[in-house]
Amino acid sequence: MELVLIFSSLLIAVLVCLFVKRRIVVECASLLAVAIALVESILVALRVAAHGEYSPHVFFSVDALGALVMLIISIVGCATVGYSIAYLRKETAQNVIGQRRVRQYFILLNLFLMAMFLAITANHPIFAWIAIEATTLATAFLISFYNKPSAMEAAWKYLVINSVGLLLGFFGTLLYFTAMHSLDGNEFVSWQMLLQNAAFLDPLIAKIAFIFVLIGYGTKVGLAPMHTWLPDAHSKAPAPISALLSGVLLNVALVVVLRFKLITDAVVEPSFSQILLIVLGLLSIFIVALIMLTQNNYKRLLAYSSIENMGIMSLGFGFGGLGVVGAIMHMMYHALIKSTLFLSAGTIFLRYHSTKIAKIRGMLTALPVSGALFFIGFLAITGTPPFGIFFSKVLIVTGGMHVHPMMSALALVLMAILFIGFFKQVSAMAFGDVPTEVEVGEKNIWLILPPLALLVLFVVLSFYLPPFLSTLIRSAASHY
């Protein structure tokens, strides 16, 4: 029932956006749909925390990690839709976009959210693949939303690289089905069935399949060296879409990789998948550490930070044990704070009309609240204590110290370099004299509330995890 409500409310919102021209109706329908999705996601999370895996239908199933990601999708989705309303109104007022584009935006946004919910709840690996591919299709036009050459180029790059990646992921997915040879081809094959039949999988095929899946879905996760599309796409999309792409979509793809990791680990020694995740994770952090200092665009800076953080999560899942707990917590914290950062970056862009770091000066004076949100967000995302990301990073590194001390130490050094790089860029933006042409003071409360709500939630969860969330994290960690 919960899932039906989520999908039907988003679908109705899409239809309303398609057929109703009044802007207020389009906005309200989208907001209502995502609010329903939030309530239902909380109900699903409570149910999973209390009774374990929830399978309302053969096609759908939600485990602990799935429930957590559903919560992330709906919370960030809610903030994003709320922010989008104010953001697009401002852009319409500035004649950046017309009314028709607003409807298109909300159609694609609702489709994007629906595809993510489908991908995370789909009980069939191919069904999940179709949904992930649908996220690519829904977001391609959102990335090229401003119809500028750079946005078009970024969207094309995104479409081609992700499509190739996902086809490789599709091939890897199919290879896992060799475990099901004894079954009728028309039988529904769930994730659980694949896991139960893993013993019939040839270990060599399992290894090759996991490599294909890791390269394929890893492209969507943004793991290096398949990350090249991410900084362009995330920096060219409208700020609220960047928040969803960075904060949510990457996690959805990562969960699919983890589900295949479970099956692979049942066939070959877990060290195989763990080493691969550690190598890609470290490589992602290393590449970003090299690039961070020379970045001149703050949205790209945030996009690169997403690559780094996905690398950290990959590292955590690779380390195993405490690292997995840290990685799951990191997933949750990163989603909240990265969305806060992208939404406040949107407000900074609306005020300064530029994404160049060199043109942003006196951010804390010009935008006392949004600037502060951005600055606190930077402190939090780089793992400054006492925020949650500090604890999740400590857990990941501690988990790694037992099994791969050198890798953990290297990761720690790279994270320190990243902090310095990030600090250099953000401090240049935060302080100094406000350019004369830039107005001072916050003008729109609706541009402040969504990122503020996300930050407040992030801070609260940094110090207090509600029992149901703790249960979900523990349960998910015990599986993965």
């Binding site: 069904f127 591919e133 649908a134 050459p149 180029e153 094309w156 499509s163 599709f170 040879h181 028309n186």
Partner: protein, 217 residues
């Protein structure tokens, strides 16, 4: 399969052959027609699955595949070629002799022991699976080696065709409902790619991806 074995081999050879042709042809129209022929061969192989199982839903999949891949896709490409006067495809990174050497190496790798586990999923079909895997590699190589956006689309769609051929001979065919879902995805992808091609041409005056430099600086 109820289909004659020689006929099956012929269709797989067509899939592989059209991939090589797509690499060698200098004209976009030729590449788009090659994709149409390749898709026809894939649809014929799917029809073989129908003959074997007598599952009417598979027949629907075959009809949908024919409509989307054999009719619509080449039609879209032809329209784009005419609309933007894209008679000749953008250049390649490797010249023709080097391209042929790369094709030979990739085909050899697909037939090598490295992939024996994958191509030996159904030992009786090892040669056909190796050829399908080689077609997959060649599709990837087409995307990497060509500078034209249209070639990239054809490469991606050919990669999907090659995977379909692989699944048929590896006994990994999905249920018709899922196959229809995948086809629907391909259809939407095709529509979106077509819109993007037109928009890219409008912005850059060319479909050569090396002329797209707006993200730099």
């Amino acid at each position: 399969m109820n289909m004659n074995h020689a006929l099956i081999q012929f269709f797989v050879a067509v899939v592989f052959g059209t991939m090589i042709f797509s690499h060698l042809t200098k004209k976009n129209f030729g590449a788009s027609m090659a994709y149409g022929v390749q898709s026809l061969a894939v649809a014929a192989l799917l029809f073989g699955s129908f003959l074997e199982t007598q599952n009417k839903l598979i027949l629907i999949v075959v009809i949908c595949a024919l409509i989307v891949k054999v009719v619509m896709a080449p039609l879209f490409f032809s329209r784009l070629i005419r609309k933007h006067a894209l008679m000749f495809s953008a250049s390649t990174y490797l010249n023709t002799p080097l391209t042929l050497i790369a094709i030979a190496i990739l085909t050899f790798i697909a037939h090598s022991q490295k992939f024996a586990a994958v191509t030996g999923i159904v030992p009786a079909n090892q040669a056909l699976l190796s050829l399908a895997l080689a077609a997959m590699f060649l599709s990837l190589f087409l995307i990497v080696n060509r500078k034209g956006a249209l070639s990239h689309i054809i490469g991606i769609l050919s990669l999907e065709n090659s995977i379909v051929v692989f699944t048929i001979f590896a006994g990994l065919e999905q249920s018709p409902a899922l196959q229809l879902g995948i086809l629907f995805n391909i259809f939407i992808w095709l529509m979106i790619a077509q819109v993007f091609i037109s928009m890219l041409y409008k912005h850059f005056g060319s479909l050569n991806i090396t002329s797209m430099q707006s993200l730099k600086g």
